[in-house]
Symmetry: C2
Subunit: 487 residues, 2 copies
């Protein structure tokens, strides 16, 4: 028996989130940090199966909105990488370089960057493919991993030097269409992250000093983790014509004029969003998976002794047969583990619905449903299993999402002074609204004075400009921004 699992999670999420997170990653076998390259981790089956389901929803939504998938090389020639000045300044420090190949270590003619993001891999090709207005819009995405040599401490899913994402790269004839794409990217984020994974967030327009390297504007979704810190989720960037000019992407318009294209890019990092799934939905017993993205939605635990074993196992298989066309379901019939061990095993992994069946239940033609999110038990007639399972899973999905929304709503505050901002960030966490004069000096001061409170930007799509005084310099301003400590 694997005793570490049997123990379950030994700290409370609300008391020591960091330790709770470490334990859950280990005990639910989500990731292993012992891989012997600094900053790189192994993603284990339970998290990978979940993230595959997350990818499915995300890609389906992006395809429904007219994106097509492509696979671009993982290696980018240094000369491509350096074409857009801001971009290389922003990402240069984070690149792993391939410099040699073969057993003799033959030097390559040019250094090759392992993609930290793929603008500079893709846009050379875009310049070849796009000729006229008929080729636009062009909306491509790729599902891939990227590599970033960064210094901050490794935390599985939250931050590692290799992570998994989708990157969408869209090209338009006009600025208006590009701006509309940014809005569509936000809609995709809402439909998938919130609608399917149950993760709430707020979209901010980032301050100019915090935008994507090479972009005109950056819009990023932030959620709040249980320790009150903000975690950045997908961001979408209006690239304007910056890259078009650097990579010479032009098209002949309907009016016969040759013009530079307008571009956007969008980067939902599935492995990082999974960190939000762990943190936001989890509880003191372990993961709580939203049914939509749980690798196993229903686990059936047969409870038997030697005399009842055969009958109970047959009944368990019968239940499975009733639901496995509709749901992802498993019977845990392993003989070497006790039912109690199995309860814990699947609870730590967050399986939404457990069905228990034993000799007593069989006599009553029933089973017992146990909800992972609430712990509630319910006796269900054998004839009603399929319909009740469907109803229950739908309910769990809703409840998990609602709980998360409530948590988010409870973490929106307001401050008028840096002192109260600091106090609120420390004691309550979450987002704190303040007026800000838009100067870098005040942003720096706020960050230093509040132990890392960062201006996340102005809220997008919600009008909350309000006359007031900058929280630091007291200059009058309409600009209201949200401050949070961040991952």
């Amino acid at each position: 028996m694997k005793m570490s699992e049997q123990e379950g999670i030994t700290v409370k999420k609300g008391e020591n989130f960091s330790e709770w997170y470490t334990q859950i990653v280990e005990k639910a076998e989500l990731s292993d940090i012992r891989y012997n390259v600094k900053g790189f981790v192994v993603f284990r089956p339970w998290s990978v199966m979940s993230m595959e389901l997350m990818y499915d929803f995300l890609e389906a939504e992006m395809r429904a909105k007219g994106h097509k998938p492509a696979w671009f090389p993982a290696l980018i020639p240094e000369s491509n990488f350096k074409k857009e000045a801001d971009h290389v300044e922003g990402f240069g420090a984070e690149v792993f370089w391939v410099t040699e190949a073969g057993s003799e270590g033959k030097k390559l003619e040019e250094r090759l960057a392992m993609r930290p993001t793929s603008e500079t891999a893709m846009y050379n090709m875009y310049a070849l493919w796009i000729r006229t207005w008929r080729d636009l819009p062009m909306k491509l995405y790729q599902r891939c991993q990227v590599w970033r040599y960064e210094g901050k401490a490794t935390r599985p899913f939250i931050r590692s030097r290799e992570f998994y994402w989708v990157e969408g790269h869209d090209v338009f004839a006009t600025q208006e269409e590009a701006e509309a794409q940014v809005a569509e990217d936000m809609e995709v984020t809402e439909n998938v992250l919130h609608g399917k994974y149950g993760i709430p967030f707020i979209f901010f327009q980032r301050p100019q000093h915090d935008k994507f390297a090479g972009a005109v504007n950056t819009y990023a979704a932030d959620t709040i983790m249980p320790d009150g810190r903000a975690l950045q989720l997908p961001s979408t960037h209006l690239l304007g014509q910056n890259f078009a000019k650097a990579f010479d992407i032009k098209f002949a318009d309907k009016d016969g004029q040759e013009k530079y294209v307008w571009q956007t890019c969008y980067g939902p990092a599935v492995s990082r969003i999974f960190a939000a799934v762990i943190g936001i939905h989890g509880d003191d017993k372990g993961l709580v998976m939203p049914p939509n993205i749980s690798p196993v939605q229903i686990v059936i635990i047969p409870i038997y002794d030697d005399s009842s074993k055969k009958k109970v196992l047959e009944a368990a298989d019968g239940i499975k047969a009733k639901v496995d066309k509709q749901f992802r379901v498993e019977v845990d019939a392993r003989d070497e583990y006790t039912p109690g061990w199995k309860f814990n095993h699947w609870e730590v992994r967050g399986v939404p619905l457990r069905i228990e069946i034993g000799p007593k239940d069989m006599k009553k033609d029933q089973v017992v449903f146990v909800r992972r999110d609430s712990g509630e038990k319910e006796e269900v007639k054998q004839t009603k299993i399929a319909v009740e399972a469907k109803r229950m899973l739908r309910k769990i999905q809703k409840n998990v999402s609602k709980k998360a929304d409530k948590y988010m709503k409870g973490h929106m505050h307001r401050a008028n002074t840096t002192r109260s901002l600091k106090k609120t960030l420390r004691e309550k966490g979450g987002f704190v609204k303040v007026n800000w004069c838009e100067s870098d000096e005040c942003a720096d001061y706020i960050k230093a004075e509040t132990d890392g409170g960062v201006i996340r930007g102005t809220r997008f799509g919600v009008e909350d400009r309000k006359r007031g005084k900058c929280v630091h310099c007291k200059k009058e301003t309409d600009t209201v921004v949200y401050v949070a400590r961040q991952y």
Copy 2:
């Protein structure tokens, strides 16, 4: 209008396969070889959507057989990579090395290999995870790309320095179980490549001089391309305890003894299998996609003039609505292209079924079905569209597969002398059965003497040992092997 497409394929597959392949890759927009790193290509949406479907079948089959997915790092420390002596000898020459990072090009403490295959990334972790017999069997796979610095000419899908595959890595308590896994891998190959993609192949046990670096035995599937050359498809390897000893992967068995595990690995390269799909199923007009893996299974082409436009487009949408729950279907309603241009556009891409609808058809309450595989046309009543489409797609899938089988069967020959072997390889291509004494000298001689005829090995699972004389040295032997020129 994109004239290059409008032209269609201008050479016949049977006359100049190489040029035909180049044209199809370009005109069906499958891949672009103009990416500016030698040996790296871009995979474009049509091929990626097909390969995603191929991945779906392959992963579903592997999961059904008890494999679970994981994601291991793309970078392997040099010290891991060098642990198994044969392995490093076999792959060392093909490794891209990451040696530095960041804008200043800071040297890393240890060189990191971009994985050419993941044994040496995974097996360190296996040694940590596997403790007792309860942890076995352990069957994991990962879907990823790998990188190999190799010298042969780049051909999209057939050979490039970056390719896409699944790699399965399984661990067992006994040799018998490992051997059974090799057989299961072959079964997966049969069910998926042949059963779903319609690609025929033969499994060979490779001669010892041609096995996977570090394996005890290698079993590889070969198909025959239209130019008569063999293309290697998935291979499965019995690793024995070689890696277990190098990576110290041991378990406490039921008898209390500590033992080394037994391992296998399996590597179906989806991007390469797609080359077989192109080559084997394609015809003089372009791709012929098996319905199972065609991104679009049915394309509806409305044929209209100004007066009928509205009605015909509505009818086309109505047809789509009838079939789009069951099939991947698209209406090509682009106004800027003619029906003739569209016919060619979708024929080059191999869409299995075209449905044409125009004013005349509407009057007769019918549509016209056109099969891509045979070119046959059929009038179908509007009320029968769904049922007929289903029947037709099933028929096309079968026919495409049968045609391929027939081609394969027609390319099995026999020779008793190197002279006739050479002649057969040159004039007929395919596999030629010969007796072979199992000496490396004779293998080398055969290869040199027949312009590249390579011994693919003994056929697996089919008894065709036969007393005869080695085709070169004339020594008596029972061993019958298959020779083919190869990619």
